[in-house]
């Protein structure tokens, strides 16, 4: 075997990548890659401008993206909870079906009132929440709301904690991005079902070939792999991906 022999699996087709970012972090080099990745049919794109500086302007930027492979995702600023609640109302009116929260980047703790209120309001509006933050702490503001959440930063070190809370919360899902133990994906599928796994890459800041290769060579069935590679995300974001109004 050689590295080249694995290249096909490292570029496996992805129907929907739940974790893509437009823009740049001011404290990091400019991303070397675009948000568009060959073989990725649809990318759920959120704006770093919205997360770091100006939520309304950033959200308008992703809403204006007309490429067919872009599925716009809103972001709000948890440092301005009143503004965040208003922005949720505004973007729902523009047809957005998912909001991404950036508690780490915004210095927000899980017990801050803004987290709980934004989580409750987003859920009430029918939004899917794509959540950053350590799942061992950030499960709490979403618990008991009937929220549909995708935890984007679930590391395999913390997988046991995710599985415990996912048993109680049928709307809790996880990205595959950091489930990089030899049996992380398989444990989720076995414990709470493969429908809780969504492919996420954090393009362009992380290497997309890693979660692709991990998924392609996983112990999941072909049917489960298809669900993780986009089927689950399409179902979760159905009104957005089918063009129906939210």
């Amino acid at each position: 075997m050689s590295f080249d022999a694995l290249r096909a699996d490292a570029t496996m087709p992805i129907a929907l990548d739940i974790d893509v970012l437009a823009g740049a972090y001011p404290d990091r080099p400019e991303p070397a890659r675009p948000i568009h990745t060959e073989g990725v049919a649809t990318a759920a794109v959120a704006s770093l401008r919205a997360a770091l500086s100006d939520a309304r302007a950033g959200n308008d930027e992703v809403l204006a993206m007309t490429a067919p492979d872009v599925l716009p995702v809103a972001a709000v600023d948890l440092r301005d909870p009143l503004g965040a609640l208003a922005e949720l109302e505004r973007v729902v009116g523009r047809g957005i079906g998912a909001v991404r929260l950036f508690p780490d980047e915004q210095g927000i703790e899980p017990d801050f009132p803004s987290m709980r209120h934004v989580a409750r309001h987003a859920t009430g509006l029918g939004l899917v929440i794509l959540s950053g933050g350590d799942v061992r702490r950030f499960w709490r503001p979403y618990a008991g709301l009937g929220a549909r959440v995708v935890f984007l930063d679930t590391h395999f070190y913390h997988l046991g904690d995710f599985l415990l809370v996912a048993r109680d919360e049928p709307g809790f899902h996880t990205s595959t991005r950091l489930l990089n133990s030899p049996d992380g994906l398989e444990l989720v599928a076995e414990s709470v079902g493969a429908h809780r796994l969504l492919f996420g890459s954090r393009t362009p800041f992380d290497e997309v070939a890693v979660p692709r290769l991990r998924l392609a060579r996983s112990g999941l069935s072909a049917e489960q792999i298809a669900l993780v590679a986009g089927g689950n995300a399409r179902a979760l974001l159905a009104p957005m991906t089918t063009g129906e109004p939210t």
Binding site: M1, S2, L178
Partner: protein, 255 residues
Amino acid sequence: MIIDVHAHWGPWFFTAGASGTAANLAVMDRYGIDRAIVSSSTAVQYDAPSGNRALAEALTTTDRLYGYVTVNPRRLQAGERDLRELLSTGRFVGAKLHTEYTGSPITSPQVRDALAMVADFRVPALVHTWDRSVLDLAALCLDVPGLRAVAGHLGAAGWRHAIEAARACDRLYLEPCYSHAPAARLAEVVAAVDDRRLMFGTDATLIDPACALGSLIGAGVSGPTAERIAWRNAVELFGLPGGLTASPSDDGQSH
């Protein structure tokens, strides 16, 4: 041919599945990895002598795994005894030092003494490095005659320090395993470091090899450089048999 120079044998304390030799071979077969040099997870995390001896037993059951003798820098006498006894079996080809579990930074006197002892045994040392500590390892390499060290994780998110470290000392080697996969990390390393000083490592069975493999593939590594990273440099540094053949599972098919 692919040789993994940073792997482990034994259980982990995280939520995880099976451990043991069969688990090692299964994860190697998943990606067509032919050989791996492993340290005992118990030796790294808790008790080096008992972990080393359990690993020695396991190595008698397969020829696809080689061993690292884990040395706890705070237990130098035990480390010397383990190196003397286990290197002579021919199944152990290097030493492993973990700096965090043992509370022993690379700049500590005990790590310096441990690595000087390893150098006296004329085997390479795989040393855990994180962020700037890879620079400390390069400095120590320059200070300890004959020491050949592999910087485990190549500093993780501190890969730019690893580039500087590798340029500072020609007896320092880099291997890339890391549970995160920042874009451009390995492309920058491969572009900046002599490819005779780069190794392939995964941290399996803690981390799935997809992390290192996907990062290398994403970095566009191919041709002679890929071959050096995949196995040639490992054969040379660790003195592995030149006639190594691919494992029976190396059929070029998906696993």
